[in-house]
Amino acid sequence: MKKQVLVLVLVAVVSAANVFAQGKYITKNGHIEFFSATSMENIAASNDKVSSVLDTQTGKLDFALLIKAFEFEKALMQEHFNENYMESDKFPKSTFKGQVVNIADVNFTKNGTYKVTVKGDLTIHGVTKAVEVPGTITVKDGAISANSKFEVAVADYNIEIPKLVRDNIAKTIAVTVAMNYQPSQN
């Protein structure tokens, strides 16, 4: 009898942990920044209004951000970025739709930082490219965060940089992603 109760309790605990871990996690205040380094000058901008959904069961991972929500230190940089390079009136958003390939390697019930590979379609400036980038998912006391750092080649997304400032803007831009997810109510 005692053994049966023990088994029952164990089953209950395990399934409770599963219920807790399953499902969708979201954020609307994710952080993405980029950095362009050249000998002429460094340019940095950050966006703290990134929306993202992570499905911990299937590994489905989506991001969406508004180009105009990138903030720069210098007004002229912000203006050029929006008007000349990203054409943010025409292409207001950048998105990523993809998948954490090895989601099974992440134990959402156990604290730790797990290495992941993310694959999917990145859309910038109206151009969609298949990308594969490394990242980490960190589980800490039920809270989930995700981080990644990768490079984007400006030319891949048909972003034209005028000759005059070509030396001021790097050919590849370093992108840093930092998300803190909350469980979705839906």
């Binding site: 609307k28 703290d48 929006n82």
Partner: protein, 134 residues
């Protein structure tokens, strides 16, 4: 005479370079120093974006707008505070505050006016560099 011309050219060049550099380095304007383009309430703004993102974007994006609404929530992440104003059933107006002046006192249900730059629509209408209006 030639010497004067040379000096004049040098001075003009130096002044020009200085003005150019100052313009190049000009920081992004603080929202409080920028004239308000228009005033609107949060529910109207949200509904316009929800119904037609394109036309609402053309109308409001890059504008410095004062949005009147009811506080739905306040969150702080990475040192940045966001105030959500009630919009519709599916979303609201998300205001990323420039600084936290007066924001810590805000609570759900408060009626406020927040001024900021409209950047577009994700699941919420997103305003950045926001300041709380007195």
């Amino acid at each position: 005479m030639k010497k004067y011309i040379l000096i004049a050219v040098l001075v003009i060049g130096a002044v020009g370079a200085y003005i150019g550099k100052t313009m190049y380095d000009k920081p992004v304007a603080s929202t409080s120093d920028v004239k308000t383009d228009l005033e609107i309430d949060a529910a109207t703004l949200f509904t316009e974006f929800e119904q037609n993102e394109q036309s609402a974007g053309d109308k409001y994006n890059d504008k410095n707008i004062a949005v009147k609404g009811t506080v739905q929530g306040v969150t702080t992440e990475g040192g940045k505070t966001t105030v959500i104003l009630k919009g519709g059933d599916m979303g609201g107006v998300s205001c990323e505050m420039q600084d936290n002046t007066g924001v810590d006192k805000l609570k759900e249900g408060d009626a406020v006016t927040i001024k900021g730059f409209c950047t577009g629509y994700l699941t919420d209408v997103v305003l950045v560099r926001c300041v709380l209006q007195p």
